[in-house]
C-alpha cells in the first residue's frame, strides 16, 4: 500500500468527504429533531468538528513521523491502543454500511435501478478493494480527478432550486429555544467527524510552505457547502422537511428547466454519488489500517484479510440486521452515541497531548516531513 499523500490532495479529499453522504437521509432526520433550526444543529456540529480537526492537525504536525497507533502505544499502553483501533474500525464500518444502504435506497426509488443488496455492494467492494490495496495515494488521485465535477454538481443542485427557495422558511429563529437544535446536534453526531481518517495519515503527509491554512480553508469550504445544501433543503421544504427521506433527490428535483428537459437533475445526482464511493473507499482504507494495527498485521496477506473482514461485515450485516434501524436506535437515540462521541471528540481533543507526551518520552524529533523527505513505503 502506498499511503504517502500530498497536502493539496488531502485538502481536496477533506472537501469531498465532508459533504459526501450528508445529503441523503440526514437532513430529514435532523429536521425531525430541530425543525427549521436544523441548519444550526449542523453548524454547531461542524464548529465542534473544527476544534477537533485543528487538534488533529496539531498532533499531525508534531507527530515526528510516528503513526497514531505508535503514539497511543507510547502513552496509553498497547492493549488500550488496540482497543481504540478496533473501535475506530467498527465506527468506520458502521458509517460505510449506513451510507451505502442509504445510497442503494436512493438508486432504487429515484433512479429505478432496482436490485438486491449483494448485487449492488459486490461491484462497489471490488472497486473499493482495488483502491484500498493500492493505498491512500490512489484514492486521493481519483479524488483530484472527480473533485471539479462533484463540486460543480453540488453547486448546480443548489442553483437549480434557487428559484423556489424561500429564505423566510428559516424563521422564526430558535422559536422553541436552543434545546431542539442542541438535541439535533447531540443525536446526529454519529454522522459527523469526517476527518478522523487523518489519524491514519500521521507521518505520511508531505506539505508545502504552510501547514494549517490550506487544511482549515478546505474544512471551511466543505462545511459551508454542506450547510448551504441544508439551508436550501429547509428553504424549499419548510414544514415538510422532516418527511423527506432523501434530501438530494428531493432538492435536485426542483428543476428550473421545466418540462422540456426531463430529469436533468439525475445527471448531477449520479455525479454526486461518486463522492459517497470515494468516502466509502477512504473509510474502508482507514478501517483496514486500524485493524492492521489492532492485530499487529504487517504483511500484505494480512492487509487483504483485514479488508476482507471489513468487506464481509459490510456485505452481510444489512442482509441479516436492520442496519439503519440499529444505527438509529443505538447511535442516534441510544447510549451508543456517547461511545462514539468519545472516539469522535475526546480522542481528537486529547491527541495533541498524547503526541506531546510521546515526544517527551522518546525525545522530540523533527516535525512533519517536507516534500523532499517523503519516502515510498
Amino acid at each position: 500500500m502506498n499511503n504517502c499523500v500530498k497536502q493539496t490532495q488531502l485538502c481536496l479529499l477533506i472537501v469531498i468527504v465532508m459533504s459526501g453522504g450528508k445529503y441523503l437521509s440526514l437532513p430529514g432526520i435532523l429536521a425531525s429533531f430541530a425543525g427549521r433550526d436544523s441548519w444550526i444543529s449542523m453548524s454547531l456540529l461542524f464548529a465542534v468538528d473544527f476544534l477537533c480537526f485543528v487538534a488533529i492537525l496539531f498532533a499531525m504536525k508534531n507527530c515526528g513521523g510516528k503513526s497514531f497507533y505508535e503514539i497511543l502505544c507510547m502513552t496509553v499502553s498497547t492493549p488500550v491502543a488496540k482497543v481504540l483501533m478496533t473501535l475506530y474500525a467498527l465506527f468506520f464500518t458502521l458509517r460505510i454500511t449506513g451510507g451505502l444502504v442509504d445510497t442503494v435506497d436512493l438508486m432504487s426509488t429515484s433512479l429505478s435501478v432496482v436490485t438486491n443488496w449483494a448485487a449492488f455492494i459486490l461491484p462497489v467492494l471490488l472497486v473499493i478493494g482495488y483502491n484500498v490495496a493500492k493505498g491512500l495515494k490512489n484514492t486521493v488521485r481519483v479524488t483530484q480527478i472527480f473533485f471539479v465535477f462533484i463540486l460543480i454538481s453540488v453547486l448546480l443542485i443548489i442553483l437549480l432550486s434557487v428559484k423556489y427557495t424561500d429564505l423566510t422558511e428559516l424563521n422564526p429563529f430558535l422559536s422553541e429555544g436552543f434545546k431542539p437544535a442542541l438535541d439535533g446536534s447531540v443525536n446526529m453526531s454519529f454522522w459527523f467527524s469526517d476527518c478522523l481518517f487523518l489519524f491514519f495519515c500521521f507521518g505520511n503527509v508531505s506539505v508545502g510552505k504552510r501547514f494549517f491554512t490550506p487544511f482549515i480553508v478546505s474544512f471551511l469550504v466543505g462545511a459551508v457547502l454542506t450547510v448551504m445544501l441544508e439551508i436550501t433543503f429547509l428553504c424549499l421544504f419548510g414544514e415538510l422537511a422532516p418527511y423527506a427521506q432523501n434530501a438530494l433527490v428531493k432538492v435536485s428535483g426542483f428543476n428550473i428547466a421545466g418540462t422540456s428537459y426531463g430529469r436533468l437533475d439525475w445527471i448531477f445526482v449520479i455525479i454526486w454519488l461518486s463522492s459517497i464511493i470515494l468516502k466509502s473507499t477512504l473509510y474502508f482504507w482507514a478501517a483496514t489500517v486500524a485493524l492492521d494495527k489492532a492485530f499487529s498485521i504487517n504483511s500484505n496477506k494480512g492487509h487483504v484479510i483485514c479488508f476482507a473482514a471489513v468487506a464481509l461485515l459490510v456485505l452481510v450485516a444489512p442482509l441479516i440486521l436492520p442496519v439503519q434501524q440499529m444505527i438509529s436506535d443505538l447511535f442516534i437515540l441510544g447510549a451508543g452515541k456517547y461511545v462514539t462521541m468519545f472516539l469522535q471528540y475526546a480522542v481528537p481533543i486529547l491527541s495533541p497531548l498524547l503526541v506531546f507526551a510521546a515526544n517527551k518520552k522518546h525525545g522530540g524529533e523533527k516535525s512533519i516531513r517536507r516534500v523532499s523527505e517523503v519516502k515510498e513505503q
Binding site: S110, P172, E239, K250
Partner: protein
Amino acid sequence: MKKFAGKILLFLAVCLSLWLANSYTRNELADRAVVLGLAIDKDQSGFEVTAEVVAPSGQDQSGGADTKLLSGKGKTIEEAVGDIHRVSGKDPSLAQTGIILMGEGIKEVNVLSFLGYFTFSDAFKDDVVVAFCEGKAKDVFESASPVEQIVSFALQDIIKTASDKTGGVNNYLQKFAENQISPSSASYLSVVKKKEESASQDEKGDGKKPSLYDCSSVCVFNKGQYAGELDEMQSKGFALLSNPSAYASFVVNSSSNEFGVESEITVGIASKKISFETLFEDGVPVFKVEFEAKLKRQRTDASGDVVNFLPESDGEISKDAVSQISAETQKLILAALNGCKERNCDYMNIADLFFKKFGNSWTQYAKNNPDYLNKVVFEPKIKVSD
C-alpha cells in the same frame, strides 16, 4: 495452479457478471409508460386516475411524441395507479410527471388524504404543477389543445408559464401540500375551465376537437378541504399579490389617445414590488401590504411585462389614468384580503407570516383567538406610476 490463475479469474469474472445481470429488476424503457400528466377524479366508488403517457415502442423511427391516455380505478390513488399497470401492461413511471389536475369530485375529499403518495415519494418531482378543474379532469385530458399536441404540456404552459404574463396564478405540489400544514392551513390552486371548443376541425382525426382553456380563476383549500372559488376581483387581486412575476392589465379611460380622441386604453404593469409587514398595534394584528408598480401602455407584440430597472421615460399615461389604476388596484387587493375573512380561509398565509416574525407569541395568540382572521386589520399601501 498459478498457470490456471488467470483462467480461473476470468471464469469467476464471467460468473459474477452473469449473476449481477440477473440481479437487477428488468425495467426496460419499452415496458414503461412515462407519465406526463395525471388527472385525478373522485366519485363514490373511489378514485379514477387518468395518465397521459408516452409509451416508447422501440419501433417508431419517425420521432415526435405520441401520447395515449390510460385510466385506472381504485379505492386509493396507489390502487388506481396500480390498476393502470394491470390494464395496460406497462409500468407507469411517474418521475416525469409535470402536472396533476384534480377534478370536481375532489371537493368531497380532504386532499391531504392522498397527496402524501406524491409528496413523500423520492421519485416524484416536488415542483409538479397542481391545478383544479371544473367537471372531470379526465375530460380535460381527453380534449386537445390547438397549439400543443400534448395536453399535459399545453396545460403546464397555460398555468405555469403563461400565468406570469397573463395575470394568473400557479401552484406546485410541495408548496400546496406544505401550506396546508403550515400555521395558515390554507392554500390555493388555479382553476382550469374549458372554454367553448374552437371552431377548428378535428385535423388529427383522433376524435378530439381542439379546446381552449381559461386558467385565470382561483380556488382555495382550508386544512385540505375545498373552500370555494374566488370571484373575479378576488382572483385578480390574489394574483397581483401572490405571484411576484404575475402581471395584470387595466382598462382605463383616456381623454386623448394617439389620434386625439377620447377612448379606453389598456395599461399593463411593467414591474412590481410587493412587501408584507406584520405587526401588533395595541394587541391587534395588523397586516400591511406595500404594493408598488410601474405602468406601461400595452402595444402590439408586447404584453407589457418586463423586468425591473426600466429606463425613465416621459409619461405616456395621463395622471387621471394612473389614479384610476391606483384606485382599481386598491379595490382588487382589498377584495383579495377581505376574501380571507369572508371564507374564513387564510389563503394569503397571514398566520404563516405572523408566525415567522413572532414565533410562539403568535401561536399563543392564534390559540386564544381562533377567529384571528376577523381581527386582523388590513392596511394596503398602493403606489403606481408610469
